[in-house]
Every structure is written in structure tokens, then in C-alpha cells.
Amino acid sequence: MVAPYEVAAQVLDPELRVVTIEELGILRDARAEPDRAVVTITPTYSGCPAMDVIRAEVTRALRRAGWATVEVVTQLRPSWTTDWITESGRAKLAAAGIAPPAPVRGTDGAAGPVPLGMPGRRPPAPACPWCGSTATEEVSRFGSTACKSLWRCDQCREPFEHVKAI
């Protein structure tokens, strides 16, 4: 039988269909035990509705690969950070028009100071995934999913999404 990790690593994120859960950094571990496959995942956001779908799809993929019993464990620590998105994940997001996140300030979002003030004083804007321009502006701090914000490019005038760095 194929190793559990290889199977689980192929599962696509249900909301960002271009990247796998491994590339997104959600898949923490997958191992074979005598009677089952045990997969460990870390949720992105507390209320991410994709987590239930991910659990179901990981289970289904492993059953199809021959594992009759599959256990999906949720691990909260260390908490997920966008720094865990792999290089190939970032490239695929950008190719799909979703600007990948910049490195997170500090080691843990929980420890750093929260910047206040109007947008002018915020961290640098992401480059447009279509034309590469950095003349972009935030349209909405929240997007179609919890992990994204909505942006617009002032150069090519195209809208795009951006995975928020956390």
C-alpha cells in the first residue's frame, strides 16, 4: 500500500483548489499504524469551514488507497502560520491570481505588536499576481474565505485576492 503521507499530501484544499494541504502547511503528519492510518492536521483559522471537508477528503483518499481505518487528528499547537505555505504552494497561488502572503513579522503573530492607524501606515502591499506591480490597494480586509483579503491593482486595474499573513 502507498504510504499514508503520500496519499494525504495529494489532497487539494477545498477552498484554494490549486494547492494541496501539504503545500498549504495544514498536513502535519501521516503515519501507518498496525491497524490504521493516522493523519494529523492543523487548522488555519478557528472557524475555517473547510476543515470538515478536509477531514472527509483525507479519509476518503486513504480508504481508496486501501486503508480501512483512518483517524484524522487535529493538532492546534504550534498554531498554523502562513509561513508554512511551501514555495511550490506560493507559486501555484500566484499563478491562480492569489497573491501569496509575506513572511510573518516576528516568530509568532501572538507575540508581535498590533499595528494601529490608517492604511497608509500598514505593512507593504502585496504585488499584483497578474502584472507584478506593487501599486496595489486593499479593497476589503476580508475576502471570500477567512484567510484572504481583497485587493485591486492600480496598474493593470485587475482585482485579486491575497492570503493574509498570520
Partner: protein, 234 residues
């Protein structure tokens, strides 16, 4: 060392009731982007509430899961602070509530993330990043409205005055108020708003199960389906 059932229940109830209130803005916010923002924040709160209530149920050891705790308790058994159950009011009131709540939640979660209860620390470590984003969002709106037009300034000041008395209860079981003031006061100052004076009316009782009438109506709506059809699934 593990936390107590009561402590985790209070945290979970704050998040659950805040989520339910914010969700009332769904399809009613002043603009579409804000509609998405408020419901995303509600979703963060709901996610934290689910993990906290599940854990509270395990600590209690009486066989109650997250659904039993959310849907099958009456108002007197809820331990949320009064602030979260207050009606949304206008948009300024919603933002004042969100600013005051999330600034507290962020600091509380940060403290718990470094605390001795591993399970609670894990939940808090995820939630603290979300709370920080909520603080940021509420701060931007407070500044925009406070330092905006005459009308928006008046409404934001009135919202801050209305909600401020309810903030004292947030700090009855912790020592986080000084840090909270250090977050909130600069935002109010930048928003050209007056920070209400201490020493006035300070209603409390939520942590003991003594709530405003608003909670009963909220629970009636939140619980009706589950109570009419126990164990219903979609």
C-alpha cells in the same frame, strides 16, 4: 494543570454570543465588503466557541458536548459578559462593542496561549491571531467614524459612551485592564473621541448568570431549531 469548567465556559460563551450577534449583520451591513468582514469575524468567534465549549464539556465530565452547551442551556446558565449580548445598535455601536471585546480577547488569549493548560493554550494560540485582526478592523472603523463627519463623530462618541460601562465586567476575573486601556485609549484619541471617565455606572452579572433581557431573545432565536428538532443534522 488544567483550567476549570467555569473558566473555559465563560470564554466559550463570550465567543458564542458575540458570533451570534455579529451574524445578525449578514446581508444587512452598510456595504458588501463590511458584510463579508463582519460575518468572517463571526465565523472566527464561532470557531473559537466550538473548541472552547467542546473542551468545557470534557472538563465538566457530565457528557455535554458543544451542542448541548450551546443549545440546551437557559439564560441563567450562560456565563458570557453582558457586553456581548447587547443589541448591535447602529454600525458605530457594533464597532465599539467589537473594539472593546476584541482588545480584551486578544490579551486574554495571549495570556492563555502561554498558560499551563496545554489544550486551552492551543485554542488560544490560534484565536489570538484572529483577535488581533479584529482589533485592527474595529480600530480602523472607530478612527474613520470618530474622525469623520459631524454625524459619524457624534454617533461614534455616543456608541463609546453607551458601551463603555459594560467594559468593566471584562476585567472582574483578570488583571488585563491596564493593557486593554493601552490599546483602546490611543484609538479613541486618534479618532478624536473622548474616553469616558471611570467611576460611573458599571453593570455586571453575566459571569454569574444574571443577564439583560436581550440574551433571552438571542437564545430563543439561536436555539429554536435544535430544541424543536433535537439532534437535527443537515
Amino acid at each position: 494543570m488544567t483550567a476549570s469548567f467555569e473558566e473555559v465556559l465563560a470564554l466559550g460563551d463570550d465567543a458564542l454570543i458575540a458570533a451570534q450577534r455579529l451574524a445578525e449583520w449578514c446581508a444587512k451591513a452598510p456595504e458588501m465588503e463590511e458584510d463579508i468582514a463582519l460575518t468572517n469575524i463571526a465565523l472566527d468567534q464561532l470557531g473559537a466557541a466550538r473548541m472552547l465549549l467542546s473542551y468545557a464539556g470534557e472538563l465538566e465530565g457530565a457528557g455535554r458536548d458543544e451542542d448541548a452547551l450551546a443549545y440546551l442551556r437557559d439564560d441563567r446558565e450562560f456565563r458570557n459578559v453582558l457586553l456581548v449580548e447587547l443589541p448591535n445598535g447602529d454600525f458605530a455601536v457594533t464597532m465599539a462593542k467589537l473594539l472593546f471585546l476584541s482588545a480584551y480577547q486578544r490579551d486574554r488569549y495571549r495570556q492563555l496561549a502561554a498558560g499551563p493548560d496545554e489544550r486551552l493554550a492551543g485554542i488560544a494560540a490560534t484565536a489570538v491571531k484572529e483577535s488581533a485582526y479584529h482589533v485592527d478592523h474595529a480600530s480602523l472603523w472607530t478612527i474613520r467614524l470618530g474622525d469623520g463627519t459631524e454625524e459619524s463623530h457624534a454617533r461614534m462618541q455616543s456608541a463609546v459612551d453607551e458601551i463603555w460601562p459594560y467594559t468593566y465586567e471584562l476585567f472582574d476575573d483578570n488583571d488585563l485592564r491596564a493593557g486593554w486601556l493601552a490599546t483602546v485609549e490611543p484609538v479613541l484619541a486618534e479618532a478624536t473621541l473622548t474616553r469616558p471617565a471611570d467611576g460611573g455606572w458599571a453593570p455586571r452579572g453575566g459571569r454569574q448568570g444574571l443577564h439583560t433581557e436581550h440574551l433571552s431573545y438571542l437564545l430563543a432565536e439561536m436555539q429554536v431549531l435544535h430544541r424543536a428538532h433535537p439532534g437535527a443534522k443537515w
